[in-house]
Symmetry: C2
Subunit: 504 residues, 2 copies
């Protein structure tokens, strides 16, 4: 690490004392807290020219060069203050980081803030040259995160394109195939749904809406209420600062519907945009873009982040645990681009999201109970052919991590629920529809938002009930026409399907 500390005046009077601190530092300041076998950090050279102190530090992993620099900064500034009565103006750093890696990168690595990233085959290391970063960069942990990024990127190069491992945990008995059509096409022909004005959106007429509300009530009454889940209403536009905590900014970017606010709310500032519209009858998108602030976040992607946010930095009384809540107060948007299918995989959809927070035991128990209630609904009310699948990302398999079993007290992970879609082909050859999931997240989100229990660990879990997908799964297997043959228990929940407009 080479650092350049610029002070607010000539360092001549402090020269001797600075030299003394730096020369002795390897055995004093830089030695503190180190085990005897660690060599730590040492000053290779230093130079004082007028108001500038230049340092060259090398180190091993036990005390990193930038940590050494931060340790030295205080004493150096103190001396200068005492001898010369002035202070530090700025600190710029060039640092070379050597990251030992156990795999050779398959392609060139790019790392932010780095001038150069080079793999050294002999040392089995990656050398990263950071140039001209400032002190806040050292202080906020960015350098450690750069090292993690290197490990991540090499891992990604190896597992890229390889599928996650999906293990079927349970599957329902085969059901006779009664229907082989694509429900989207059938519903469009019936006039129950109509493609929306934007990509991957649908307008539901009153018939589809009645069916939708029936399924929604079924989910609330048969799954959530019996377990004691309480409804909340969550904000839907999500600012980046929430996703910075949940980690959605580490990979959801390509799917987000970004939201930008206007630079001004004064109508006069919008005169040109409005005039252009009035003359051309088209929205002048380039002009509008110029009138927008930087994006502030995006539309609801998952519903749970604001629920955790609402509990940020709270300590929860034991008697209030587990916290069981759900939200169904608006749409979610995801840019599915080429992945859109019918009304079942879309850019705008309606999800009920239950979140549960409690001790590991409570979270595990809630997961088990949800699984029971879901099974009851899919078997008895919807008479589905379905299965659930344990999903293990490839990188975990590669890392040799043995996942715990679903029945294990300490199970964390995600289970996907999948339904057979006869219109897509044979059971084994076709893609089943993932119509729901259930996750136990351990302390990932409670830690991220500093939510604490009165005592002990606090875990959480969540589940996404995709109502469009419940309906698509059911209709793909049971059809739309023979409502009299639908399961008796579902019929109890079914609202009357109203008529709609006759178009000429």
């Amino acid at each position: 690490l080479r650092a350049m500390l610029t002070f607010t005046g000539d360092l001549e009077r402090a020269q001797e004392q600075l030299g003394a601190i730096l020369s002795g530092s390897a055995e004093t300041i830089l030695r503190k807290g180190l085990r005897p076998e660690a060599s730590g950090a040492r000053i290779v050279s230093f130079e004082i020219i007028e108001d500038v102190l230049k340092l060259h530090i090398v180190s091993d992993r036990y005390l990193r060069s930038h940590s050494a620099l931060l340790r030295l900064r205080g004493p150096l500034v103190d001396v200068v203050g005492r001898e010369c009565s002035f202070g530090l103006r700025s600190m710029r750093i060039d640092e070379t980081i050597i990251v030992p890696v156990d795999k050779k990168p398959l392609r060139k690595l790019k790392v932010p803030f780095a001038k150069e990233v080079v793999y050294l085959p002999d040392e089995k290391s990656v050398r990263i040259e950071l140039e001209n970063v400032d002190s806040s960069f050292l202080e906020d942990g960015s350098i450690d995160r750069i090292e993690n990024l290197v490990y991540d990127k090499i891992e990604q190069q190896y597992y890229k394109g390889k599928a996650e491992r999906r293990t079927v945990i349970w599957e329902s008995p085969r059901k006779p195939v009664m229907f082989k059509q694509d429900p989207t096409i059938v519903l469009e022909k019936l006039g129950w749904i109509k493609q929306g004005p934007g990509l991957g959106q649908w307008f539901f007429g009153p018939q589809m809406t009645a069916l939708f509300r029936s399924f929604e009530t079924l989910a609330v009454q048969e799954v959530l209420k019996p377990l004691g889940f309480k409804e909340v209403i969550c904000p839907k536009v999500t600012p980046f600062h929430v996703w910075e905590k949940t980690g959605h900014m580490a990979g959801s970017e390509p799917e987000i519907y970004y939201v930008s606010l206007p630079k001004s709310r004064d109508i006069e500032d919008w005169e040109k945009v409005i005039d252009l519209y009035k003359v051309t009858k088209k929205a002048p998108v380039k002009e509008i873009r110029r009138m927008l602030k930087d994006p502030m976040g995006g539309n609801c992607y998952a519903q749970c982040p604001p629920m955790y946010w609402a509990l940020e930095k709270k300590v929860i009384a034991s008697e209030s645990l587990p916290i069981l809540m759900f939200d169904r107060s608006g749409v979610s948007n995801r840019n599915e681009a080429g992945g859109r299918i019918g009304f079942e995989r879309v850019n705008e959809f309606h999800r009920i999201e239950p979140v549960f927070i409690g001790t590991p035991e409570q979270v595990t128990q809630t997961k088990d109970r949800l699984l029971e209630r879901y099974s009851l609904v899919f078997n008895d009310f919807l008479d589905l052919e379905w299965r659930y699948v344990d999903v293990m990302p490839f990188y975990l398999q590669q890392a040799g991590i043995v996942k715990t079993e679903l029945s294990d007290r300490l199970w964390t992970g995600t289970v996907d629920f999948e339904a057979y879609m006869p219109y897509r082909g044979e059971r084994s050859a076709s893609e089943w529809l993932e119509f729901q999931n259930l996750s136990v997240l351990g302390d990932k989100y409670t830690k991220a938002f500093s939510i604490k229990a009165q005592k002990g660990e606090l875990w959480s879990g969540c589940s996404g009930i995709g109502l469009e997908r419940w309906i698509a799964s059911f209709l793909a297997q049971h059809g739309t026409e023979q409502q009299s043959t639908w399961p008796k228990k579902l019929l109890d929940y079914l609202c009357e399907i109203p008529t709609w407009i006759r178009f000429l």
Copy 2:
């Protein structure tokens, strides 16, 4: 108007015939369909230089210069095709438009595409110099819209800042003031609501959600169902092309939450953004902005545009009229900026929006029935002190337009419903909360979306039921504590208010 028509070759061989067409045009091509007293348009001069034909046209209002040019283009191109076997490459136009106006502009006018806009006091006219516009500009009616824009802008300069005229049509008896606190503050203290992670958003805990769902059910069961309104589910992200038709692009711009999609859904294209986040733990908004397409529209602003859009270009059988539908399937966003107040005037809110479409009689009758049902709810179920107000924009008053009365068969306009908010001060000195509105829109939207009835005229109307504002009005007058003193009829709809978390 000066036009420059560039052809794909030298015009020498067609010179004579072009001259003949242009010289005779005032009595032939340009005369067609004109009344004898109109002088119409004539060619002042023309010039042919190699592949370019230059024209100078003047006209009165009966046949506008640009219309004259479009009439001439066909015959000119025909002749060139016949004589020289080549065609028109491009047509560029400079046009001077004289717009007679009855008021002097108070400030300099700006008009898009115009190089210069000058008021001519002697002619009581505005002269607009358009420079180098292309032929599509003439063809799509932009020039006529530029004239309308000039009228609009002068009107706006006169009524700017002047309030709309609000006429109280009806007001309830005064009610005893039982509560004088700001419900937002009370609800925050109770822990029923919490300010959201973004501006003007709120998180509703289970207690507030129970209250909210009670009011929602009240509105649906006591207002909408008895009149036969059917629920639909509308797309929420609204593309600009829908707002181009509804006219929201003529002034809602400062309030819109704009939505932009990513340029790419390939995660590799997002590597830099993701890496920056992983290192700094902050969303790199400048980088993200660079990765976005131009905005494609915005979040739901009003719920009705997609309902009209769903019926675009349809002809409705008489038996299906009136169409009565409502949507409550997601949030609306408006950038209220400095106008935000508590949880009652916010950037993100929940509205039930009924829309009614039918003959003028049916729309009028539905408006009357809605008014009846609303009155019943506000008087008997909510026991509110409220009034409704006819709103007439200043420019209509100025224009001397006499508005029809609400009881009139042909009434179009908007009625605002306002509630007295005791915490804001005395009845006459304080601002009442506009908690709902009701509009009859005539054929504005049915025309814009070309929706037609089997026979006769087709009108529409809509109403915005702001659920946060219903609740705010009620709580401001009745308080949160003494639920036993709330109106009996409301209590029948009230869900049990659950408990929530005890925080330590």
